[in-house]
C-alpha cells in the first residue's frame, strides 16, 4: 500500500508540475453536472463523468466508454440588504461535455471537455463603486463562459491521474479622443475618437488524482491554480481649443485617465476526499476544499488622472492636484469548505435504474464584515442539494449503451450578517445582508459502449 501511495504522490506531483498559471469560475458557484451538484459536490474521489474536468480530471479515465452530455442549469438569488431586494440577476447556462477514452496497452487514456455557456452574455465585468454595496460572489463574477479541456490516465487499475487547463478572458480597453474645441460655439467643435478593445485569454491549470485501495473505497485529491482577470481602461483626449475651425489655437487640453481594476480573482484550491461505495446501489462521499482567498487583490481600481492645459485660457483654472484612487486591501481569509453527499438506488429493473441523491456544503465567507469604506457584501452559505437520476441501459438496437437523465435542486441559505461600520458618518452606514438561493438543472448523458 505504501508503494502505491508513493507512486501516486509522485505522479500527482508530476501532474502539478505541468500546470501553468491559474481560477474562481462559474462552476465554483453553480457546480458542473447534475449528479455531482446533487451530491453536494463531494465527488473528488470518484467522479467519472464530464464533471471530472472541473472536480477532478483524474476521473476521466475511470469509464472507458464515450460519453456525450448536455444540460441546463439556473441560479436564482433572493438576496437582501436591509430587507431591500438586491436585484441580483438570475443566471442561466447551458452545459456541454464529452469524455472519450482509448486504451494504449495497459494504460487507459481519456480526453474530456466541459463547456458552460452563459445564456445571457459571454462575460460581464465592472469596477466597484465604493459606496454601492454589492454581492461580490454572485453579482458579476459568475457571468462568464467556462471552457476547460483535460486529460486523464489510468496507468494502474487502482490509480487515476489527470490534468487540464481552463480559459478565461480579461480585457484591455482604450479610448482616444482628439480634435478641436470651440468653448464659445459648440457647433464648431470637432472630435474624432478611436476605441480599441483587446480580449486576451488567461489560463489556469488543474490536476488531480484518484486512488482505489479496494473495490469499496476511493480517495482523491485535486488542485486548481489561481487566476486573475484584470480590466485596464485607458482614456485620453488631446484637444486644440480655438474660437473657430482654422483659427489660431488658444490652448491645448490634454487629458489622461488610466484605470486598472481587478475584475475577477480565482483563488487556488485544493480538495481531498473519499468515497465509500460498497455496491452499485449505495455511495457516500466527503470532501474538504481549501480555498486560498487570502491572495485576493483589491477590487478597488487603481486610477491615475491628469489634466493639463498648454497655453493661456483665461477663466479656466485647473487644480494643481487632481486625485486618483489607490487600491484598498480587502482582507479576505483562506477558507476550508466541507462537503458531504451520497446517492442510493431506489429502483433497478427492466433496464431502468432510479437514484436518489442528496448533499450538503458549508461555505464560510472569505469576506470580512464590511466595517470600512468598502461594501463587498457576502455571507456564510449553507448549501442543501438533492437530485434524481434515471439510467436506461437496455436500449438496443437504438442505442448500444446507456442513457442517463439527471436533475438537481439546490437551496442555498445565507443567514443575515450584520455589517457595522467603524465610522458613524459612513454614507452607507450599517446594514444587514442575507437571503436565499435556488438552483436547479437537468442533464442528459448518452454513453456509447
Amino acid at each position: 500500500m505504501m508503494r502505491r501511495i508513493a507512486i501516486a504522490l509522485a505522479t500527482f506531483s508530476a501532474a502539478l508540475g505541468l500546470s501553468a498559471t491559474a481560477a474562481a469560475s462559474p462552476p465554483d458557484t453553480l457546480g458542473l453536472g447534475s449528479r455531482s451538484i446533487a451530491m453536494g459536490g463531494a465527488v473528488v474521489a470518484d467522479v467519472q463523468d464530464f464533471g471530472s474536468v472541473y472536480y477532478n480530471p483524474a476521473g476521466l479515465a475511470r469509464d472507458n466508454r464515450l460519453q456525450v452530455n448536455a444540460g441546463y442549469l439556473r441560479l436564482h438569488s433572493f438576496l437582501q440588504i436591509n430587507d431591500d431586494d438586491s436585484d441580483v440577476e438570475p443566471l442561466g447556462a447551458s452545459t456541454f461535455g464529452i469524455v472519450a477514452s482509448h486504451s494504449l496497452g495497459r494504460v487507459d487514456l481519456a480526453f474530456g471537455l466541459a463547456v458552460l455557456l452563459n445564456d445571457q452574455r459571454i462575460a460581464r465585468t465592472r469596477t466597484a463603486i465604493l459606496d454601492r454595496p454589492r454581492w461580490e460572489l454572485y453579482d458579476t463574477r459568475d457571468h462568464k463562459v467556462y471552457l476547460s479541456p483535460a486529460v486523464g490516465l489510468r496507468p494502474f487499475r487502482w490509480l487515476h491521474i489527470g490534468g487540464g487547463i481552463t480559459f478565461q478572458s480579461p480585457a484591455t480597453l482604450q479610448l482616444d479622443v482628439r480634435g478641436s474645441l470651440d468653448p464659445f460655439d459648440s457647433s464648431d467643435t470637432r472630435f474624432e475618437h478611436r476605441f480599441r478593445g483587446n480580449l486576451v485569454s488567461v489560463r489556469y491549470p488543474q490536476a488531480g488524482i484518484q486512488i482505489d485501495p479496494n473495490d469499496d473505497w476511493s480517495i482523491g485529491a485535486s488542485y486548481r491554480g489561481s487566476y486573475t482577470i484584470d480590466t485596464i481602461t485607458l482614456a485620453g483626449a488631446d484637444l486644440d481649443i480655438a474660437l473657430s475651425p482654422g483659427a489660431p489655437t488658444l490652448a491645448q487640453l490634454q487629458l489622461a485617465i488610466a484605470s486598472a481594476s481587478l475584475s475577477t480573482f480565482g483563488p487556488q484550491q485544493a480538495t481531498v476526499g473519499f468515497a465509500f461505495h460498497p455496491s452499485a446501489a449505495f455511495r457516500i462521499g466527503a470532501d474538504v476544499v481549501w480555498v486560498d482567498w487570502s491572495k485576493h487583490g483589491s477590487l478597488i481600481s487603481d486610477e491615475e488622472i491628469s489634466i493639463e492645459i498648454i497655453g493661456n485660457l483665461p477663466g479656466i483654472d485647473i487644480p494643481s492636484e487632481i486625485r486618483g484612487r489607490d487600491p484598498i486591501p480587502l482582507g479576505l481569509r483562506d477558507r476550508w469548505i466541507p462537503r458531504v453527499g451520497g446517492e442510493g438506488r431506489l429502483i433497478a429493473n427492466d433496464g431502468l435504474q432510479l437514484f436518489l441523491r442528496g448533499g450538503y456544503a458549508y461555505e464560510r465567507t472569505p469576506f470580512p464584515t464590511q466595517t470600512g469604506v468598502t461594501n463587498f457584501v457576502d455571507g456564510d452559505r449553507h448549501v442543501l442539494s438533492s437530485g434524481l437520476g434515471l439510467v436506461f441501459d437496455q436500449l438496443e438496437p437504438g442505442l448500444d449503451g446507456e442513457l442517463r437523465l439527471d436533475a438537481h435542486l439546490v437551496w442555498g441559505f445565507l443567514p443575515d450578517r450584520v455589517h457595522e461600520k467603524l465610522s458613524l458618518v459612513d454614507p452607507v452606514g450599517d446594514y444587514v445582508a442575507g437571503g436565499n438561493q435556488l438552483a436547479f438543472g437537468v442533464n442528459v448523458t448518452v454513453v456509447f459502449e
Binding site: 438586491s86 445571457q120 454601492r132 434515471l390 461600520k421 458613524l424 454614507p427 452606514g429 450599517d430 446594514y431
Partner: protein
C-alpha cells in the same frame, strides 16, 4: 411502467424543461442597489414633488415678500420663522456676507405654521407665536417643534435673551409659554446667549438640546424637557467646553478655511443594524463668505465624529433641520439665499436622500422644437 415508456416520458419532460429554460436568457441590468445610512448626501426636491408653484422655484412654502430664517416639520405642519419687509428700513449692514439677510431691515421675526398640501409642500401659513416677554426682545425665531407621545406639542425657540419653550395640547393647538418661557439664558462668563435650539428625545439618552453659542455648538441635558443642565463637551479639560467638532484640513492651500459653525439641527436615526446615533447637521461659515452644511454623528450624544463630505449642494445653504419621516427617510429642511426686489432674503427648501423617491406630479411634455 416499462423502461421504454419511462424513457419517452423523461425525454419529453426534458425537452419541455430545456425548451422553457432556453427562453429565460434575458439580459438584465447591473444590480445597483443604493443602500445609504440616510445621513446624506441629499438632493433638493423640485416643484413637481412639492406641488408648490411660484418664486423662488422649488421652495416648499411661499411667503410673499418675507424673509425666512429657519423651519422644520412636525406632524403635518411646518413651523418656521419669517419677517415681513420693513418699508422704512435702515441701510444694509455692510459687514454682512452677500448672502446674509439683514434682519434689521425687516419687521421683527415671528413664528409661523403652515399645513401640508399632501405632497412635499406646505400651504396656508399663519402667525402662531410672537415675542411678548421682556427677555425675548421684539423677535422670536429658530422654532424647533417636538411632538410628545400624548400629542402635546413642545416648541423650543430662540429670542434675543436666549432659548424659550412653549406648549400646545396638539400640533395645531394654541401655543402657551411654559412659565415665562425662558429655558436657557446667559450661560457663560462671556455673556454669551444661546440660540438655535434643536432637541432630541430618547429613552436611553434622555432629552438633549443642542444650540449655538458664540460660534460653537453646545449641548444641555434634561430629564423633563423643561429644566436643562449644560453638558461639558470635553471632560478632559477643567473648564466647560462646547462640542468638539474639528474641521477637516483644507485639501489645497487655496481652499477656504472654516471660520465658525452654528445653527445645529439634530435627529436620532437607526441604521440597518439597529444602532441608533444622534445625527447633527450644522451651518459652516467659510472664509470665502460661503456657507455650507456640516454633519457629525454620535452614539452618546456628546462625543461626535464629524464627516468631511459635502452633504448638500449650494454656497448659501443653512439652518439645517432634519426629521425622520414615517417611511424612515431623513428629510432635511434648509434655507438658501433668495434675492428678491434687490433685497437679500432666504427661502425654505427640502432635501432628501439621493435615492429617496417622493410622490411627484407628472412633469409636462417638452414642447417640440420649431
Amino acid at each position: 411502467m416499462t423502461a421504454a415508456r419511462t424513457l419517452r416520458g423523461s425525454l419529453l419532460g426534458l425537452a419541455l424543461v430545456a425548451g422553457g429554460c432556453s427562453t429565460l436568457g434575458n439580459v438584465g441590468e447591473f444590480a445597483d442597489p443604493i443602500s445609504t445610512a440616510g445621513a446624506g448626501p441629499f438632493r433638493f426636491v423640485d416643484k413637481y414633488e412639492t406641488a408648490i408653484d411660484g418664486e423662488p422655484a422649488n421652495a416648499i412654502v411661499m411667503v410673499s415678500g418675507d424673509a425666512m430664517s429657519s423651519g422644520v416639520a412636525a406632524g403635518d405642519f411646518l413651523f418656521f420663522a419669517a419677517a415681513d419687509a420693513n418699508l422704512v428700513a435702515p441701510d444694509r449692514d455692510p459687514t454682512l456676507a452677500d448672502h446674509e439677510v439683514d434682519f434689521a431691515r425687516f419687521e421683527p421675526r415671528t413664528i409661523r405654521r403652515a399645513s401640508s398640501n399632501g405632497w412635499a409642500g406646505y400651504i396656508e401659513p399663519e402667525e402662531v407665536f410672537v415675542a411678548e416677554e421682556a427677555w425675548e426682545g421684539d423677535a422670536v425665531f429658530d422654532p424647533w417643534p417636538v411632538l410628545l407621545p400624548d400629542g402635546t406639542l413642545r416648541l423650543y425657540y430662540a429670542a434675543e435673551g436666549g432659548i424659550g419653550l412653549a406648549e400646545a395640547s396638539s400640533v395645531d393647538g394654541t401655543l402657551e409659554r411654559v412659565g415665562d418661557g425662558h429655558v436657557l439664558g446667559e450661560l457663560t462668563d462671556d455673556d454669551l446667549v444661546p440660540s438655535s435650539p434643536t432637541v432630541v428625545v430618547d429613552d436611553v439618552l434622555g432629552t438633549l438640546m443642542y444650540f449655538e453659542l458664540g460660534g460653537d455648538i453646545a449641548v444641555a441635558r434634561s430629564d423633563d424637557g423643561v429644566d436643562f443642565e449644560l453638558v461639558d463637551g470635553d471632560p478632559s479639560t477643567a473648564a466647560w467646553d462646547p462640542l468638539d467638532l474639528p474641521a477637516a484640513p483644507p485639501m489645497a492651500d487655496d481652499d477656504p478655511v472654516e471660520l465658525r459653525i452654528g445653527h445645529p439641527g439634530a435627529v436620532i436615526a437607526a441604521m440597518g443594524s439597529g444602532r441608533r446615533t444622534v445625527r447633527l447637521y450644522f451651518e459652516v461659515f467659510l472664509s470665502d463668505e460661503t456657507r455650507t452644511i456640516g454633519f457629525a454623528a454620535s452614539l452618546d450624544g456628546v462625543d461626535f465624529e464629524r464627516s468631511a463630505r459635502t452633504i448638500v449642494a449650494g454656497e448659501s445653504s443653512g439652518t439645517p433641520a432634519p426629521i425622520v419621516d414615517a417611511e424612515g427617510n431623513t428629510r432635511l429642511f434648509v434655507t438658501q439665499s433668495s434675492e428678491r426686489a434687490n433685497e437679500q432674503r432666504r427661502a425654505l427648501y427640502l432635501a432628501v436622500g439621493t435615492s429617496t423617491e417622493l410622490p411627484s406630479l407628472p412633469e409636462p411634455e417638452p414642447e417640440p422644437e420649431g
